[in-house]
């Protein structure tokens, strides 16, 4: 455990530094966006006593009484707040409220154990059962998974463990008080955490003894807050005093809830920190700058530079008249659009999918094997080879696009066109594809070259365009660009598709290739099978070596 400490410290420090950097970056961006001058930060309220001059007790701020266990207590989720995190919290809170319902929920009761009573608990198995029934889950593993996530977010917790997960057994769990719910957007300061850990050491109870990682955290905080420690200690003392006056059972419950809160915000090393945010969504959170908010009601110190006045305006420009006019235009055009009936669309989707399912490795196992499962890359070698498999050749018949996508298919189609003396069409199409891929600088010249080669008077590879397209294209060439040949390319493609491509599919050169593997009795067939066999043996040997390599890496 000791050896891990410096690493954890480093990680935590690194993480904190990173978070600070990111916050700075985010804040910088925010500042760049906001054009108004930010008002000067309001002076932080005096929370620290002047050194030695005043009676400590008078200057200490009493923390608010921690809330009672009220299930009906409202969380502060604003129903109109639809930022991503809130959506999830709302759903979880709905589940958590239902699960605690007296009639429809789980049995929460006080359990007698040895000399004591354990108040307000429910077993993990009960929770799992309830989740399965009420969320239509068939597999208990799935129920445990979602339950563990809800626990990790901080909505219920095991009473005897810092690790927040759900087990499908007799382990006891307790529900978190709404005050501590994540939807309140707590961003507890390290001072809060220090007070909490300090408090724990003062209460002489075995159940409240610090875990190793907590002891290390406390030591680190003592060093970091060396100058403030007197203040922290006093806060802790004050809280302990108040706690002593409370009912024993109530204290048990509140203590556990407080501990669970810290398990979320200062998780056990190795556990997921569920308070981490997706930086892209931060701006729209209730607390976009993650201004520290003390869970013990202590006012912020120093980091109050971000004023809450500036709520992030997230791009939702109010619709101007022009915007609405544009939208009306858009909607009108949409109304004129000719759309397909769902029944036809569905048929089309199903047909496409069924056609390709034999090529989909997740549905049909590839031959000879999926390289990732067998560690044998033969499948890739075959796919890359100049001698395409029958299955590959079959695909070329699905559409002209498929044929052109495969370099072997493209080559064969080109050969076929050459035999018919119409290869200039495909060559033109390929040239225009190339044109679109060029760097901007080279586009104009290339466009001219294409004109010279394919369309000019007496061009060496003259293509056949209708006069309308020809006119259009030559007009486009006055200001040559990447898309000057769109029209022409479209025409040529349609021509190839309806004319040459259909003949290609019926041609001998294609049919021979398609049927080639169908006759294993032929000389050619046998030789190929033998070749395949020896190759596969060779591959499986190298495959074994490859596996060896990977196991050692």
């Amino acid at each position: 455990m000791m050896a891990e400490a410096p690493q954890q410290q480093q990680q935590q420090q690194q993480q904190e530094k990173q978070e600070e950097d990111e916050q700075q970056q985010q804040q910088q961006q925010q500042q760049e966006e906001e054009q108004e001058e930010q008002p000067p930060p309001s002076p932080a309220e005096a929370t620290e006593p002047n050194e030695g001059s005043e009676e400590p007790k008078e200057s200490v701020q009493t923390p608010p009484t921690r809330p009672l266990l009220s299930m009906r207590s409202m969380s502060s989720v604003d129903p109109d707040d639809d930022s991503p995190n809130m959506i999830v919290y709302r759903k979880i809170e709905d589940i958590v409220t239902r699960i605690q319902d007296e009639t429809e929920g789980v049995p929460i009761r006080t359990v007698k154990s040895f000399m004591t009573k354990i108040p307000s608990v429910v077993t993990g198995a009960d929770i799992v059962q309830w989740l399965m029934k009420n969320l239509s889950i068939e597999d208990p593993a799935e129920a445990m998974h979602i339950g563990s996530l809800i626990a990790a977010q901080g909505y219920f917790f095991p009473i005897s463990d810092h690790v927040l997960s759900l087990k499908d057994d007799g382990t006891f769990y307790r529900f978190q008080a709404p005050y501590f719910w994540p939807s309140n957007c707590w961003e507890p300061e390290n001072t809060d955490y220090a007070i909490y850990l300090c408090k724990r050491t003062m209460q002489n109870k075995t159940r409240l003894e610090l875990a190793d990682y907590e002891a290390e955290n406390l030591a680190r905080l003592q060093r970091a807050f060396a100058r403030k420690w007197e203040f922290i200690y006093m806060q802790a003392e004050a809280q302990v005093k108040i706690d002593r006056k409370k009912d024993k059972t109530e204290r048990k419950i509140l203590d556990s809830q407080e501990r669970a809160f810290w398990d979320v915000h200062r998780p056990v090393p190795g556990c997921v920190n569920t308070t981490e945010m997706d930086i892209r969504k931060c701006r729209r959170m209730k607390n976009p700058h993650r201004v520290k908010k003390s869970v013990y009601g202590l006012a912020e110190e120093g980091t109050q530079s971000q004023s809450p006045i500036h709520t992030p305006s997230h791009h939702c420009r109010k619709g101007t008249k022009e915007d609405v006019e544009k939208e009306i235009l858009f909607l009108n055009t949409q109304l004129d659009r000719h759309c397909m009936k769902m029944s036809k669309v569905a048929e089309s989707l199903i047909t496409y999918t069924e056609q390709y399912m034999e090529y989909d490795p997740f549905v049909t196992a590839p031959e000879p094997s999926n390289p990732w499962t067998s560690d044998d890359p033969s499948f890739w070698d075959l796919e890359a080879s100049k001698e395409p498999s029958q299955q590959r050749v079959k695909k070329w018949g699905f559409s002209l696009e498929e044929a052109l996508k495969d370099p072997a298919g493209q080559e064969l189609f080109l050969k076929f066109l050459e035999s018919e003396f119409s290869s200039e069409n495909l060559r033109f199409w390929l040239a225009v594809q190339d044109l679109k891929r060029m760097p901007q600088q080279e586009v104009a010249q290339r466009a001219q070259d294409i004109w010279t080669e394919f369309l000019a008077e007496g061009a060496p590879s003259s293509i056949n365009l209708d006069s309308h397209s020809y006119e259009r294209t030559s007009q486009n060439l006055k200001d040559p660009g990447r898309y000057s040949y769109e029209d022409a390319q479209d025409h040529i493609y349609k021509l190839m598709k309806s004319d040459s491509y259909t003949r290609f599919l019926r041609s001998n050169v294609y049919q021979d290739l398609l049927m080639a593997r169908k006759k294993p009795e032929t000389e050619q067939g046998r030789r190929t099978s033998l070749e395949k066999f020896t190759r596969s043996v060779g591959k499986s040997l190298t495959g074994k070596r490859l596996t060896g390599l990977m196991q050692s890496s």
Binding site: K91, L135, A141, E325, L329, I350, T373, R472
Partner: protein
């Protein structure tokens, strides 16, 4: 808020302004007119009554929306899953983790496959971009960027370069060198410049053009060599989180999704918004085309994935479950389009039967949110990137 849209049939000089652009073929009093979109707009706006208040315009807008829904509804004669009842049920998926790629020091935010089907590039919150041979687990290149949260990365079609960007508001292209001792970051070239974080990037059909989307609400097409902005795409009213290029070789469109809950389809040549879909209840985190290019899927923070068909111009399926309450962050189709893999913030990947609408499998294994899933170019494997600092290959 959408820009004008239309289906471009021809491309050529406009009858009104004579600029070469995609043309709208419309009829005014039975006369065919071939205007570019800008001129049509000018003509239409001039025709709009002066003194129309914002309120009356908005009412007209709402009426049109209702009418549009009605019209679309008329074509909704059957549900996809009903027609798909005749399709054979898929056998159980026996998909397992086959590789775990360890090496990133923080959340892995993005990944992309190389065309060679075994290499991939990944980027992380710690500012590192790594190129792996996922088959051998070998790390081939490592690039350290000066900023954290590298949210977007892409492999160039040639396999000779990668693009990456994120919180630095830029997207840079880094050529991959065979010399292992070379510091790749030094060769990094800034191509895209946005005014907010770059959330996604992809090369178009060549190494020479880069398409990006950003938290500044726009998408943009860039010329890699010169860094010139070739086309920008305006229309989203909030951060754009994802984009995907249409799979067709002849296509010139792409789809984008963002925090305004909209998925927009764009014409790359003109910058126009062709179609728009709005049915999600929260941010769209990811959009991906169905392999035929006629449809696309989206993943959202509302815990659902949805399937939209471009020809029907509507949502045709919703993939959801009571037990899935965390947002979906990423989606991708299997090669045939029969399966939809979706990664969620509850650390799992769900495999959905696209046609029947049912869940086929749940993949457990990651220990934190899934940020990205991608099926390999030949469909043999699925790669997932996660906040648990690892990538997994499933097959």
């Amino acid at each position: 808020m959408c820009d004008q849209t239309f289906v471009a049939v021809t491309f050529g000089p406009c009858d009104s302004c004579s600029k070469a652009s995609p043309l709208m073929n419309i009829y005014i009093k039975n006369e065919p007119i071939n205007y570019c979109s800008f001129c049509v707009e000018m003509m239409a706006c001039q025709g709009l009554q002066k003194g129309e208040t914002l309120a009356s315009l908005k009412r007209e807008c709402d009426n049109l929306k209702k009418k549009l829904e009605e019209e679309r509804g008329k074509l909704n004669d059957v549900e996809l899953h009903q027609v798909a009842e005749k399709t054979e049920v898929l056998g159980a998926l026996s998909v397992k983790t086959r590789r775990v790629l360890k090496g990133h020091g923080n959340k892995v935010l993005c990944m992309d496959w190389c065309k060679d089907r075994r290499r991939l590039v990944s980027s992380s919150q710690d500012g590192k971009v790594i190129v792996w041979d996922a088959f051998t687990l070998n790390k081939e290149h490592g690039i350290t960027l000066p900023c954290t949260w590298v949210m977007a990365c892409a492999y160039a079609p040639s396999g000779c370069a990668v693009a990456c960007g994120g919180l630095d508001n830029k997207c840079s292209v880094v050529p991959l060198s065979l010399d292992k001792t070379e510091n790749l970051a030094a060769k990094k070239k800034s191509v895209a410049m946005h005014t907010n974080y770059v959330s996604g990037c992809t090369f178009t059909n060549s190494d020479m053009q880069l398409l990006t989307c950003s938290g500044d609400g726009t998408c943009a097409l860039w010329d890699v060599e010169s860094g010139q902005l070739l086309q920008s795409f305006h229309g989203h009213t909030a951060d754009v989180l994802s984009l995907d290029l249409a799979p067709s070789e002849t296509g010139n469109t792409f789809v984008s999704g963002g925090c305004d809950k909209k998925a927009n389809v764009w014409d790359m040549r003109s910058g126009q918004n062709i179609q728009s879909f709005e049915s999600h209840e929260s941010d769209i985190n990811c959009v991906k085309y169905y392999p035929s290019g006629d449809a696309f899927a989206s993943a959202s923070d509302d815990a659902t994935c949805r399937f939209y068909d471009l020809r029907a111009d509507r949502e045709v399926a919703v993939y959801q479950k009571d037990s899935i309450i965390f947002g979906a962050s990423t989606v991708d189709f299997s090669l045939s389009g029969r399966l939809l893999f979706a990664g969620y913030n509850d650390y799992t990947i769900n495999a959905w039967d696209v046609l029947k609408g049912t869940r086929v499998s749940v993949l457990f294994g990651h220990e934190n949110r899934i940020s990205r899933v991608r099926v390999s170019p030949d469909g043999t494997a699925l790669c997932s990137a996660s906040w648990d600092n690892t990538l997994r290959i499933w097959a």
